[in-house]
């Protein structure tokens, strides 16, 4: 079965965006600027959703477009789906005002 495709927007990114429906166990090919990386999806990654390119510890910065898009709310395994269940926004968080920044 041919590898499924995902796009990486910037060399610093630790997530890629799927451009196909990816099933658990699928091989995923991520290419940018002639460099091709492969990894195995451990969860379903729907079209347009993000896959972790490496293990991301809890509290670590998640990068897309080379910029911060949030922090890991819990530890995220390589090949896992990255979305609202494990990525917390860091901006305009009225709910966190007056507390330690988590």
């Amino acid at each position: 079965m041919p590898a499924k495709r995902a796009l990486i927007m910037h060399p610093k990114d630790n997530v890629a965006t799927s451009i196909e429906e990816i099933q658990p166990g699928d091989q995923v090919q991520i290419s940018r600027g002639g460099v091709v990386r492969n990894l195995t999806a451990i969860e379903a990654i729907p079209f347009g959703f993000k896959i972790a390119l490496e293990e991301i510890p809890q509290g670590a910065i998640i990068l897309k477009y080379g910029e911060t898009i949030g922090k890991a709310g819990r530890s995220i395994a390589r090949g896992a789906l990255v979305h609202v269940h494990n990525l917390g926004g860091t901006r305009a968080r009225g709910d966190l005002e007056g507390r330690e920044n988590r």
């Binding site: 079209f47 477009y65 898009i69 949030g70 990255v82 990525l87 926004g89 901006r91 305009a92 005002e97």
Partner: protein, 395 residues
């Protein structure tokens, strides 16, 4: 040489040739329902109970639409609840529009036989004004006369990787040719403001961008809510966007790479040409009317749509006098709503084109529609009611 447009007395160039009737309400609606080639703005925001700043904004929308290059001539009537305020008198609205050299006619129920009389007089006037406007011919002109406005909406991850970059290419091309382009949605540059501030033409503009974001973010925090309960909206999250920052970083691609010349308020006309950031709100039924009032003669909605299902008929134009284009890069959205979509750039994701090639195709589509081809939404009679972006409390 570029598109075929209508030359106006103030040197601007229209992509359309309407007779506009303002302000909103029964009289304007009756005239525009009756006479072909006319437009009005439908909104409940008429100024009553609004602060002076907000009334001035309403006046800016009304006069701005009147001065828009897509309008040949204007009828102003004196029956809106807001006309008693100094900002919204018929004289002020009419005089400001007439200063652009256009024909402006005033109708007044108090002098023209009541509402029935005013409607009758308005219909007679509008018919002759439309007839007169139709004698004008399009002539070939240059890209510098294009003034574009963009919003991205129902965003998903296709917006940031393929849809917005195609619009960004278009913006760069028009700005390079001496034209004007607007982008905005202050909430949706939170997380991307540093990148934009670096592109400001002057330190003052850079500060204005950062100030606009700081103000908006402070307001968001004052709610005590996680912004994600409001924005990204549910359809964004359903489409794969996980945070406001991610949405913002994808959204700014629609602004291209040109220097940012200034920060404008809603419906504010820029002093020069080039790329401008507008401190406005994302609402579809708000933002496009503001762009048109600031002088846009064509506007684009870059649609993600990953979170939409069953939307085979998309909204009618919310830009009053500016042709409104639907663009998408999401293959599923395109398949679902094909006959609504003016431009598709999912080809970038499908490896058939790079963003520049898609952008060049978008440019050709824009030139074609600017020259008179109808946008898909212009084939509908239905248009959306407008929600003016007014920020101050009501009393």
């Amino acid at each position: 040489m570029s598109f075929l447009g209508y030359m106006r007395p103030d040197g601007s160039v229209g992509t359309r040739n309407f007779v506009l009737v303002i302000p909103q309400g029964l009289i304007a609606k009756s005239i525009t329902d009756f006479v072909a080639g006319t437009r009005t703005i439908q909104t409940v925001d008429h100024g009553s109970g609004r602060t002076a700043n907000d009334r001035e904004r309403i006046a800016r929308v009304l006069t701005g639409l009147g001065k828009n290059p897509n309008v040949a001539s204007v009828i102003v009537h004196a029956a809106s609840p807001g006309v008693g305020y100094p900002e919204l008198t018929v004289e002020r609205l009419a005089d400001e529009i007439a200063a652009s050299g256009k024909r402006v006619e005033v109708i007044d129920p108090a002098k023209d036989g009541g509402v029935y009389g005013a409607i009758g007089k308005g219909i007679q006037l509008a018919r002759m004004m439309v007839y007169e406007a139709s004698k004008l011919r399009r002539t070939e002109t240059e890209d510098k006369h294009l003034c574009l406005g963009v919003k991205c909406g129902y965003s998903d991850t296709t917006s940031g990787i393929a849809g917005n970059p195609a619009v960004g290419y278009l913006f760069d091309k028009i700005v390079k040719a001496g034209g004007t382009a607007f982008f905005g949605e202050t909430t949706e540059i939170i997380g991307a403001e540093q990148a934009l501030a670096k592109r400001a033409a002057t330190p003052d503009v850079s500060k204005a961008i950062l100030d606009a974001v700081a103000h908006r973010e402070a307001l968001a925090k004052s709610t005590g809510l996680d912004i994600r309960t409001v924005n990204p909206v549910p359809s964004n999250i359903k489409g794969g966007i996980s945070s406001l920052e991610e949405k913002s970083l994808g959204a700014i691609h629609k602004a291209g790479t040109a220097p940012i010349q200034g920060v404008l308020q809603y419906a504010e006309k820029p002093k020069g040409r080039g790329l401008y950031f507008v401190d406005n709100w994302m609402g579809s039924f708000s933002i496009f009317a503001g762009y048109a009032a600031a002088g846009s003669n064509l506007v684009l909605f870059q649609l993600g749509g990953g979170g939409l299902t069953g939307r085979t008929l998309l909204e009618g134009s919310p830009s009053v006098v500016a042709p409104f284009l639907w663009c998408t890069a999401n293959p599923n959205t395109y398949a679902m709503a094909k006959d609504n979509i003016d431009f598709y750039s999912g080809t970038v994701i499908e490896n058939q084109e790079d963003p520049a090639e898609a952008g060049e195709r978008l440019y050709q589509t824009v030139i074609d529609i600017a020259s008179g081809t109808r946008s898909r939404s212009e084939t509908l009679l239905y248009t959306e009611p407008i929600d003016l972006y007014l920020e101050e409390p009501r009393f």
